[in-house]
């Protein structure tokens, strides 16, 4: 899971973080509406939970739901730890999130269409033009290029964190090739098998429609003039890629071919795949290769992963790339801090899902505040990742802070600062029994020609170490199933007739 391994998240350990099931650690009866899950946790013995968890992990290993660890031998295929205690969102909580996610992703697509088009938002000075035009994630040579049906970011994974009952924040937008959706689906399969009683007690919205929705989304954005049944494929860098399992899983569950770059060729701006009966024209490519590597003729000439001529075919309008090239500008850290303004600009109203408060050190007031509060803030390089160029004030020594202060004063425009967040916790199975552990949440948002859809679910990542706020799989993070409750039913007949009204 390449992108998910990205940035470790830090922060000071709050005294009483909000627990999503218990409210706080010592109220084991459960928050309002979640008493029943709290009771299930209390009633199921730790031994039983451990037994089920071991069964789930064994199944994952046999299925080969592994991720490769870079730099280690090929044999070093690990599974991401799975936690048997589910997370749960009430229907109301989900509806609020859903509305905010749709609004945000619509704004991301509108922003991309604008900056690769008329650039109104830059002319209106809502976002500083140099921040976009001088950004390496802005692919200037694609300016003026509209993808088929005008959709840029077909698949977004929006990382959310929570600090209280109704306090959700967007930590990061992933608009390139977000991974992790296979865990949403496989975790649910494991839970259905191992904890069926949960699904008897709760009316949980299904997630298994995701592959169908993804295929429908891909079909809907096929270039005009494609055959009635467009040929869709998933493009993987190959089985040495850390997320290969997910690539093969998605291709398999959509019933489309999983292709490697060598299976594709571009001829006269048309993309073909090589099959045993000859060439077959390809209309839509869900590519799991980053822009930089996708076409050696356009981006990195040293890329061995790419398909020469693919971007030319895209420019000719003969193929749809999911996501379109150039979407990286929308999830850039420098742009992130402007997302509230961007949402307001295109949606005409306030962002329903707020950002984590962000101080842009390029602005004098923000810089002064940051310098005065370095011991309380998390300061990040806008173009850094993997935890490099990052200061976690509360856990840093005074020397580290002093050192960072010098760097920050020298190039303030390269930094942003955020308060340390009291991330919520969810009860999690540990060696010492069920204990609260910090989590984040990544729902997957699909945008096709017919609008934006979200399968009610997502990937919950959990920091398995006590007090840790780092949920990354490379740093001891695990995953949980995320249950979204269906709306309360008034009467049986009504809920049956009204299904289509609440399915997203």
């Amino acid at each position: 899971m390449q992108r998910m391994r990205g940035r470790p998240r830090y922060g000071a350990m709050p005294v009483h973080p909000f627990d999503e099931i218990w409210g706080h650690e010592h109220n084991r009866a459960g928050r309002d509406g979640l008493e029943e899950l709290a009771r299930w946790i209390a009633d199921t013995s730790t031994d039983e939970l451990h037994r089920r968890q071991a069964a789930a992990e064994k199944a994952f290993r046999q299925l080969g739901i592994t991720f490769a660890v870079y730099g280690q031998e090929e044999a070093a295929e690990r599974i991401i730890p799975f936690d048997i205690v589910p997370r749960i969102f009430t229907h109301h909580e989900w509806e609020v999130l859903r509305a905010g996610l749709v609004q945000r992703v619509e704004a991301i697509n509108a922003f991309l269409a604008d900056i690769y088009g008329p650039q109104h938002i830059l002319k209106d000075k809502v976002v500083p033009p140099e921040l976009v035009l001088g950004n390496p994630q802005f692919r200037g040579h694609l300016h003026g290029q509209t993808p088929p049906h005008g959709v840029f970011a077909h698949i977004c994974g929006i990382d959310l964190v929570r600090t209280g009952p109704t306090d959700f924040f967007v930590l990061e937008d992933n608009a390139r090739t977000p991974s992790g959706v296979s865990y949403m689906l496989e975790n649910r399969e494991a839970m259905l098998r191992l904890c069926p009683e949960i699904f008897h007690r709760f009316d949980v919205s299904p997630v298994d429609r995701y592959p169908d929705q993804l295929r429908d989304t891909m079909r809907s954005v096929a270039p005009r003039g494609s055959a009635a049944e467009p040929v869709c494929v998933v493009l993987t860098p190959g089985h040495f890629n850390s997320a290969f399992y997910e690539h093969s899983f998605l291709a398999d569950s959509m019933g489309v071919e999983l292709v490697e770059p060598a299976d594709l060729e571009v001829d006269d701006d048309v993309v073909w795949m090589r099959t045993v009966t000859g060439r077959v024209r390809v209309d839509v490519i869900y590519r799991r290769i980053d822009d930089d590597y996708i076409d050696p003729l356009e981006f990195r000439p040293d890329s061995l992963l790419g398909v020469p001529g693919l971007i030319a075919a895209y420019r000719a309008g003969n193929v749809t790339l999911v996501n379109a090239p150039g979407t990286g500008i929308a999830d850039d850290k420098a742009i992130y801090s402007y997302m509230p303004e961007i949402v307001r600009y295109y949606a005409g109203g306030e962002a329903k899902l707020p950002n984590v408060e962000t101080y842009r050190c390029r602005e004098a007031d923000a810089l002064r505040y940051t310098l005065d509060n370095l011991d309380k803030l998390v300061v990040k390089l806008v173009d850094g990742s993997g935890g490099y160029g990052m200061l976690v004030g509360p856990t840093s020594t005074s020397e580290q802070i002093a050192e960072f202060r010098t760097a920050l004063e020298a190039e303030p425009h390269r930094y942003i600062a955020q308060p340390t967040l009291a991330l919520s916790t969810v009860p999690t199975l540990t060696e010492a029994g069920v204990r609260p552990r910090h989590v984040d949440f990544r729902p997957f948002v699909l945008t096709g020609a017919d609008g934006t859809h979200i399968v009610p679910g997502g990937l919950t990542r959990v920091a398995l170490r006590e007090g840790s706020l780092v949920v990354n799989s490379s740093q001891g993070g695990g995953t949980k199933d995320s249950l979204i409750l269906s709306p309360p039913r008034q009467t049986q007949s009504q809920s049956q007739g009204g299904q289509s009204q609440w399915q997203s």
């Binding site: 046999q62 299925l63 080969g64 044999a75 190959g238 089985h239 290969f244 093969s248 291709a251 398999d252 071919e257 999983l258 292709v259 490697e260 060598a262 299976d263 795949m273 090589r274 099959t275 045993v276 009966t277 000859g278």
Partner: protein, 309 residues
């Protein structure tokens, strides 16, 4: 179906078959070495190397039980060592993971895991245990194949296995051909009897021979069985019948046939009309040499027909 997928499946079939054949060859050679009144010595091990065309890579090293066993099982410098075959099969299987069933994948993976970290094959006993394990996993793989959907995936694996089998059998007979020649046969000679038995062990046909011929081991009958008898799965005729069957199946699924189909059918027809006397009259070595050349051509025709590229 992607050409790459077809190529990967075909090569899974070939590599798994090659791994198993090499394991059988080792086992039979060990047996020959152990049974002989005097150690069969260098000769037996040198001929084992020649059967799998590894004599060139083995070079000037002294051929003995330890060196040849190590080279054919784990040799880092041997691209056809059993470990290398399993690694190649596994790598192909990983890249087309969804085209295989879980059982088929697990058999390949388990065999590879067992050899992955091995530093040496140990002595006689350990080597036999190892070859037995590899044969067991290969059987497991075949069993898993039989429970797969009968689609192109299945046919391409089977095609690769049958092509490989025909090639291995031809080389096995060719290397041992001099002892199969009826001329100058020392009647009832101990070493030769052991040699024939070795051959039959390698292709797991010791009892099959008795059932087919109800006769003591006769060189021309062994040759007849391994070349011309279609009911013998590892014979040239049997493997060719399988090749024709798999190609025909794929052709029906794809709605077209090609050069590989014609070549395979031609060979099947010729084998059906050939008697073992003719083979010996023309010269067994020459006959098998022509078969080996044709095997290469057939493999190329398959690669071209399905655009393995």
């Amino acid at each position: 179906m992607l050409s790459r997928t077809a190529a990967a499946l075909y090569w899974i079939g070939r590599y798994m078959e090659r791994a198993e054949f090499t394991a059988r060859l080792l086992e039979a050679t060990l047996r020959l070495d152990a049974l002989s009144a005097r150690p069969a010595g260098q000769g037996a091990w040198e001929s084992a190397l020649r059967v799998v065309a590894a004599d060139g890579g083995f070079g000037a090293r002294a051929a003995g039980p330890d060196t040849v066993t190590a080279y054919l099982t784990l040799g880092q410098d041997n691209p056809n060592a059993i470990r290398a075959c399993l690694h190649a099969a596994r790598s192909n299987a990983k890249s087309v993971r969804t085209a295989l069933t879980r059982d088929a994948w697990e058999a390949i993976n388990r065999a590879w895991l067992a050899l992955r970290d091995l530093s040496d094959t140990g002595g006689y006993e350990e080597t036999l245990r190892l070859t037995e394990m590899i044969r067991a996993e290969a059987r497991g793989f075949e069993g898993a194949l039989h429970r797969m959907l009968r689609n192109e995936n299945y046919a391409f694996i089977g095609l690769g296995a049958a092509i490989e089998r025909a090639d291995n059998t031809a080389r096995l007979i060719d290397v041992k051909y001099h002892i199969l020649l009826p001329e100058g046969e020392p009647v009832g000679g101990v070493v030769d009897r052991d040699q024939w038995t070795t051959i039959l062990h390698t292709v797991s046909a010791v009892t099959a021979y008795r059932w087919l011929y109800q006769d003591a081991l006769k060189p021309w009958l062994v040759a007849d069985m391994l070349i011309l008898r279609p009911e013998m799965p590892r014979s040239l005729a049997g493997a060719t019948e399988e090749v024709v069957g798999h190609l025909g199946f794929i052709g029906r699924r794809l709605g077209r046939q090609g050069e590989a189909d014609r070549m395979a059918r031609r060979r099947q027809a010729v084998l059906g009309e050939t008697g073992i006397d003719q083979v010996f009259k023309a010269g067994l070595h020459e006959y098998l040499g022509a078969i080996l050349v044709e095997n290469v051509a057939l493999d190329r025709a398959i690669a071209a027909q399905f655009r393995f590229g």
